[in-house]
C-alpha cells in the first residue's frame, strides 16, 4: 500500500502533479489535432484543386514532415519559431518574450499532424463518388452548400479510421515534448519517479492513464464512425 500512497492527490503524493501534466497533454493533443485538421483540410484541397506550384510545395511539405522524426521537427520549429517571433518583436521595437510551452507545443505538433491529415483527407475526398458531386452541380447547388450537404457527410465515414489513428498519434506525440522540458504527463511522471525512486509505480500509473485515453477515444471514434456511416449499404463482412 505504501507505494500507492505516492499517487495520492495531496502534497506528499504526486497525484496532483500527474493530473496537471495530463491536463497539459490533453490541451496540446486537442489543439494540435484541431490545427492538423485545418491544415490537412487546406492541404487536401490544395493537392486536388491547386495549381502545379501549390501541389509541388504541398508534396514537399508532406514528404519531409513524414520522413523526419517528430523530435527533430519539434526542436527545429521550437527554436526556429521562438527565434523568428522574437526577431520580429525586436524589429518592431518590442522586448523579447518567452513563448509559452503550450502554444509552442500546439504549433509544432499541429504542423506535423497537418501533413498526415492532408493525406487522410485527400484520400477521403477522392473517394467521394464523383456522380454525387456532378449531380449536385447539375442541380445548381452553390459550392459551399455542396461541401456541407454532399461532400462533407460522404467524406466523414471514409476519413474516420484515419482521423482516429491521427488523434491517437497526437496524444502519444505529446510525450515527445517531455524531451524539450515541457511539463506534460510523461515529464511530470519522470520528475515524480526520479524524486521518489519509485520508477515502476509512476511509469505504470502514467501508462494506465495513456491506455485509458486510448481505449476511451477508440470507443468514441467507433461511435462517431458508426454514426457517420449510417444509411450506407453494409459490406458482406459487416
Amino acid at each position: 500500500m505504501e507505494t500507492l500512497d505516492l499517487l495520492a492527490l495531496s502534497p506528499p503524493g504526486w497525484g496532483a502533479t500527474l493530473l496537471a501534466g495530463l491536463w497539459n497533454s490533453l490541451l496540446i493533443a486537442v489543439g494540435a489535432f484541431s490545427m492538423g485538421l485545418v491544415l490537412g483540410g487546406l492541404g487536401a484541397w490544395g493537392k486536388i484543386h491547386g495549381g502545379p506550384i501549390t501541389r509541388d510545395l504541398l508534396a514537399m511539405y508532406t514528404t519531409i514532415v513524414r520522413a523526419v522524426p517528430e523530435l527533430i521537427l519539434i526542436l527545429i520549429l521550437y527554436f526556429g519559431v521562438t527565434d523568428l517571433v522574437n526577431q520580429i518583436l525586436i524589429a518592431f521595437g518590442h522586448e523579447r518574450i518567452q513563448i509559452s510551452g503550450v502554444a509552442a507545443g500546439i504549433t509544432v505538433l499541429g504542423v506535423v499532424q497537418g501533413a498526415y491529415a492532408t493525406e487522410v483527407l485527400r484520400g477521403a475526398l477522392l473517394a467521394v463518388p464523383q456522380g454525387q458531386v456532378e449531380a449536385a452541380k447539375a442541380m445548381g447547388m452553390p459550392p459551399l452548400l455542396m461541401a456541407r450537404r454532399i461532400i462533407f457527410p460522404a467524406m466523414l465515414g471514409l476519413a474516420m479510421p484515419g482521423l482516429a489513428n491521427l488523434w491517437l498519434i497526437a496524444t502519444k506525440d505529446t510525450a515527445l515534448l517531455a524531451v524539450v522540458g515541457f511539463s506534460e504527463l510523461t515529464f511530470a511522471t519522470r520528475q515524480a519517479a526520479a524524486t521518489t525512486k519509485a520508477f515502476f509505480t509512476f511509469f505504470l500509473a502514467a501508462g494506465v492513464i495513456y491506455l485509458i485515453i486510448t481505449l476511451l477515444s477508440g470507443w468514441a471514434f467507433a461511435r462517431i464512425e458508426a454514426w457517420a456511416r449510417r444509411g450506407e449499404p453494409r459490406n458482406a463482412g459487416g
Binding site: R66, V68, L71, F199, L204
Partner: protein
C-alpha cells in the same frame, strides 16, 4: 524525366539550389570535420538499432498476429492485450519504464550483479533495443493479424486437402501470402520505426541524434546540426522506401499487376 522539365519545377529547383548554396556558405559548418567521425559512428548505431529491432520485432510479430488471427482464446487474448498496451502508450514512456525501472530493479539482486551478463545489463543499449523491438512487435502484430486473415480460405483448405502438414502450410502458403499482402504497410511502419530511434538518445544511447545534440551543447550552434540531422533521416527514409520497393518488385504479385 519530362516531369522535371516543366517550367515551374525548374524554377522551384533553382530556389532549392539557391537555398542549399546559401546554407552551405552563410551558415557555420566549421565544426563538421571535428565531429565527422562521431557522426559516422552515430549513423552506424542508428542503423543497427533499426535493423536489429525490426528483424527481432518481426519475429515476435508473426506469432502475435497468428495467435490473434487463428489461435485459441488463451493465446489470442494475451497477444491482443500486448498489442493494445504497446499501441496505447507512448514509446518514450516504455523506454523510460524499461531503462529506469529495470535499471533500478536489477542491481538489487546480487546474483544478477555477479552474473556474466552484468557488464551488458549496465549499459543502455540493451534496454533501447528491447523497447524498440517490443514496440515494433506490438504495431506489426496488429498488421500481421489482418494479413493472416486476408489470405483466402480456399488456399489453406486446398493445402490441407493435399495433406500438407500444418507447419508446412504456414511456411509455404499462409505466411508468404500474408507478408506479401502487407509489404507496403510494413515499409511505412519501418519508416515510422526509424523516426522513433532518436528517442533512445534520452537514455544515453549515443546514436546520430545524440551526436547532434552534443554538437549543439559543445558549440552553441543550433540550426546547422539539426538541419544536417534532418537530411540524414530523409536519406535513411528514402533508403527504406527504395529497399521495400525492391523487395515488392521481386514477388510474383507485382509482376502480374505491372
Amino acid at each position: 524525366m519530362r516531369d522535371w522539365l516543366q517550367p515551374h519545377r525548374i524554377f522551384l529547383c533553382l530556389i532549392g539550389a539557391a537555398l542549399v548554396v546559401w546554407c552551405a556558405t552563410q551558415m557555420r559548418w566549421d565544426w563538421l570535420p571535428k565531429y565527422a567521425p562521431l557522426m559516422a559512428e552515430g549513423i552506424w548505431r542508428t542503423i543497427w538499432l533499426l535493423v536489429l529491432s525490426t528483424v527481432l520485432g518481426m519475429m515476435l510479430a508473426i506469432p502475435l498476429g497468428l495467435a490473434q488471427a487463428a489461435g485459441p482464446w488463451y493465446l489470442a487474448a494475451p497477444a491482443r492485450i500486448f498489442c493494445t498496451v504497446i499501441r496505447g502508450t507512448p514509446l518514450l514512456l516504455q523506454i523510460w519504464l524499461l531503462y529506469y525501472g529495470l535499471g533500478s530493479l536489477f542491481p538489487q539482486f546480487p546474483w544478477i550483479r555477479q552474473s556474466d551478463l552484468w557488464p551488458i545489463l549496465r549499459q543502455a543499449w540493451p534496454y533501447a533495443l528491447l523497447a524498440l523491438t517490443l514496440s515494433y512487435a506490438g504495431y506489426e502484430g496488429e498488421v500481421m493479424r489482418g494479413a493472416f486473415r486476408s489470405v483466402p480460405r480456399g488456399q489453406l483448405e486446398a493445402a490441407r486437402a493435399m495433406g500438407m502438414p500444418r507447419h508446412m502450410i504456414l511456411w509455404r502458403i499462409w505466411l508468404p501470402q500474408a507478408v506479401r499482402a502487407v509489404l507496403p504497410t510494413l515499409g511505412g511502419e519501418t519508416v515510422l520505426q526509424m523516426k522513433a530511434t532518436p528517442l533512445v538518445a534520452t537514455i544515453t544511447v549515443v546514436e546520430i541524434y545524440a551526436v547532434a545534440s552534443r554538437v549543439r551543447q559543445d558549440t552553441f550552434i543550433v540550426y546547422e546540426p539539426l538541419l544536417l540531422l534532418a537530411l540524414v533521416y530523409l536519406c535513411l527514409a528514402g533508403l527504406i522506401v527504395l529497399l521495400f520497393r525492391q523487395i515488392e518488385r521481386r514477388g510474383p504479385m507485382t509482376r502480374r499487376a505491372g
